[in-house]
């Protein structure tokens, strides 16, 4: 009996000790809007979390919760993490903005980072990626590769982020083919493989020979592969869905950023109230290998990528006309970030009326 008690108390002590150890470890927590295997947006964040975990090793414990809808549920999920002792919480969708701020106000000692939003607080920073830099590059490739001079763009919702992407893509294409045209189809969803594929079919039937998308599934890539046209991947390398179609993809590589920020939170250099908007040069996004394109197109894309990284090329440099023909940027003028983040107009050459 005594032996049993002894054994039991030893086991208990071990359990308690390991729990104490776990409590000592810094916890960083991630809230995902989708599933971690969605093949796009959320999977990219999950890859970033795994990268950061590897980078930090035993210094921190990185937890996540997936499939949290934007809305009242989000606030509960964030608050649960805050109560569990998370030191730094990443909320990885635009719609988590207000819930993040609400929880942050209740937990002033917990640090928060919200992706793609614009509201900050003393313990909340925002972070975003200059996706438009990648869209300019794929636009240039489209301009070179399209025989019809028209590309199709499958868009999700008419928010500034998406409009900015459309404009950047078109400016890239027009930099090599000034008469380039763009057909836009809004599917009003982020993720519906069937509907995205339907939109791709409609665009191809109407004569586009290059497809790109700002939605999250590999549906359009699959259609492009079947119909034998070229396309670009979104958020994640989609080469498996389109081995003969994908010319490149814009990859969200959040990993280095996450590792850096968690390290800062551990050593106390993390500051709230900031907004970071990193680009290609910071490694927060990257281009998938340039495949299914001739050497000269590949060389051009690589040069553009290098120029953007070096800061000698900004996709939104004048002269740029708005869709209605009025002047937006004078020759040599570069757009400021505020205009880009609130973008609600098309540039010239978009064959669509922007939904209000």
């Amino acid at each position: 009996m005594n032996k049993f008690i002894l054994g039991f108390s030893t086991a208990l002590a071990v359990v308690l000790a390991s729990q104490a150890q776990a409590a000592d470890k810094f916890k960083a927590c991630f809230i995902y809007v989708g599933s971690k295997t969605d093949g796009g947006w959320t999977q990219a964040h999950e890859a970033g979390r795994e990268y950061a975990q590897k980078e930090l090793g035993d210094a921190a414990e990185l937890l996540f919760v997936e499939n949290i809808p934007e809305g009242p549920d989000a606030e509960r999920a964030i608050e649960r993490f805050a109560r569990q002792g998370c030191g730094l919480i990443f909320t990885t969708s635009f719609g988590f903005m207000d819930p993040t701020l609400a929880v942050a106000a209740k937990f002033p000692d917990v640090k928060f980072e919200h992706a793609t939003g614009y509201k900050t607080a003393p313990n909340v920073t925002t972070y975003n990626s200059r996706f438009y830099e990648g869209r300019y590059i794929i636009g240039q490739i489209a301009g070179k590769m399209s025989k019809t001079g028209t590309a199709g763009y499958i868009a999700s919702f008419p928010i500034p982020e998406v409009v900015m992407g459309i404009n950047s893509f078109l400016l890239g294409a027009q930099s090599v083919n000034p008469d380039f045209k763009l057909k836009v189809v809004w599917v009003n969803t982020w993720f519906d493989a069937g509907k995205e594929a339907d939109a791709a079919k409609a665009l191809i039937d109407q004569g586009v020979d290059v497809l790109t998308q700002h939605t999250d599934s590999t549906g359009p890539m699959q259609v492009a592969e079947e119909r034998g046209i070229k396309a670009f991947g979104q958020a994640f390398d989609q080469i498996k869905a389109g081995p003969k179609s994908q010319m490149s993809a814009i990859l969200d590589t959040w990993g280095p950023y996450y590792a850096k920020r968690i390290k800062m939170a551990i050593d106390g250099t993390w500051k709230g109230g900031e907004s970071s908007w990193d680009g290609l040069k910071d490694g927060i996004l990257a281009m998938a290998p340039y495949t299914n394109v001739p050497e000269d197109v590949k060389a051009m894309a690589e040069k553009t990528e290098a120029d953007i990284k070096a800061g000698t090329l900004h996709p939104f440099t004048g002269p740029v006309m708005k869709q209605d023909g009025s002047e937006w940027l004078k020759a040599g003028e570069v757009s400021d970030d505020g205009t880009l983040l609130g973008m609600k107009f098309y540039v010239k050459g978009v064959d669509d009326k922007l939904p209000e």
């Binding site: 189809v185 069937g194 594929a197 409609a202 039937d205 009326k353």
Partner: protein, 306 residues
């Protein structure tokens, strides 16, 4: 003129899964059971169909696996609602949640895997007829099944004795029971038929529509199928009309956008729902006919007295 045929083909692809799932649910509801788990059975059919097709390399195995998976999941629903007389609405909703969660787990290792497409029909000369060749002789096998299903269900429900009995079970399970009809047996089989159809509809999604697996790829199509059954007032041919009308407006609005008509895309996106509801409401204006077609014991649990 090829674009005309292409558009019709895309419409048929969009309508087929809705039609099949709705046809199954129609039989279920005609037997007096309301199964709100169509979405869950569909998504399970999609993932199992995909997994089986990829693992064996044979899309037909995938089709069968999809049908079987849908039917198996529906048995769970049948046991709970028929044998244990649980609330059908709540059980159906949980079935959908279960299906979505379970499919995500089964499909985790298949995300991003290249799919296997179910080959389309190809008959020399006939498929090459301009304008209509591919439409009539060049579609995928599940499309032909869906059309046969409409004929089959109509014939079964309104031209056979078993169909008449099934409808009587749905209209008044007490009277049917008093006449010695095995109510629960009829309902079990009807629910399983509905599950098999939902599974087939799911397999169509992952083997024909977009031959790949992505989590939650049904994206609400099961709910549209459910709505179609009600708006079609439980009549097979109206379900066919509703599914194709929905498909046509869905694809039509995408083309309208690509043409650049300048109509707000939010309005265009809601058009399929609006148009389908308006048309089906208009054709169901005859109250007496609607009441006659509505299964009177729908969603009421039946506990046989001993």
């Amino acid at each position: 003129m090829d674009i005309f045929q292409n558009i019709l083909l895309t419409i048929a692809t969009a309508a087929t899964p809705l039609l099949i799932a709705a046809m199954g649910e129609l039989v279920v509801e005609r037997s007096g059971v309301l199964n709100l788990g169509v979405e869950g059975m569909m998504v399970i059919g999609a993932v199992c169909g995909f997994a089986a097709a990829v693992t064996t390399g044979n899309p037909w195995v995938g089709v069968l696996a999809g049908i079987a998976a849908g039917a198996v999941l529906s048995v769970l629903f049948a046991v709970l609602t028929l044998s244990l007389a649980t609330n059908q609405v709540a059980t159906g909703l949980s079935l959908t949640l279960l299906g979505i969660g379970l499919s995500g787990m089964i499909g985790e290792s298949f995300v991003g895997t290249a799919g296997v497409r179910l080959p389309s029909l190809s008959i020399p000369y006939l498929t090459d007829i301009p304008l209509v060749g591919r439409l009539i002789f060049g579609q995928d096998p599940i499309f032909y099944m869906s059309i046969l299903l409409v004929f089959g269900v109509t014939w079964f429900l309104f031209r056979t004795r078993t169909g008449l009995t099934l409808r009587s079970v749905g209209d008044s399970h007490k009277s049917a029971h008093a006449l010695g009809i095995p109510v629960l047996k009829y309902r079990y089989l009807a629910v399983m038929f509905g599950g098999a159809c939902a599974g087939l509809a799911g397999a169509h999604l992952s083997l024909v529509y977009v031959p790949q697996w992505v989590e939650n790829m049904t994206a609400g199509r099961g709910w549209i199928a459910l709505a179609l059954v009600v708006f079609a007032s439980w009549r097979p041919w109206r379900v066919l009309g509703g599914a194709y009308l929905f498909g046509a407006v869905t694809i039509g609005q995408l083309h309208a956008q690509a043409l650049g008509f300048g109509i707000p895309s939010q309005l265009l996106s809601s058009l399929p729902y609006l148009a389908t509801i308006i048309v089906l409401v208009l054709i169901s204006r005859n109250r007496r006919l609607t009441v006659m077609n509505t299964p009177a014991s729908l969603a009421q649990p039946f506990v046989p007295d001993r």
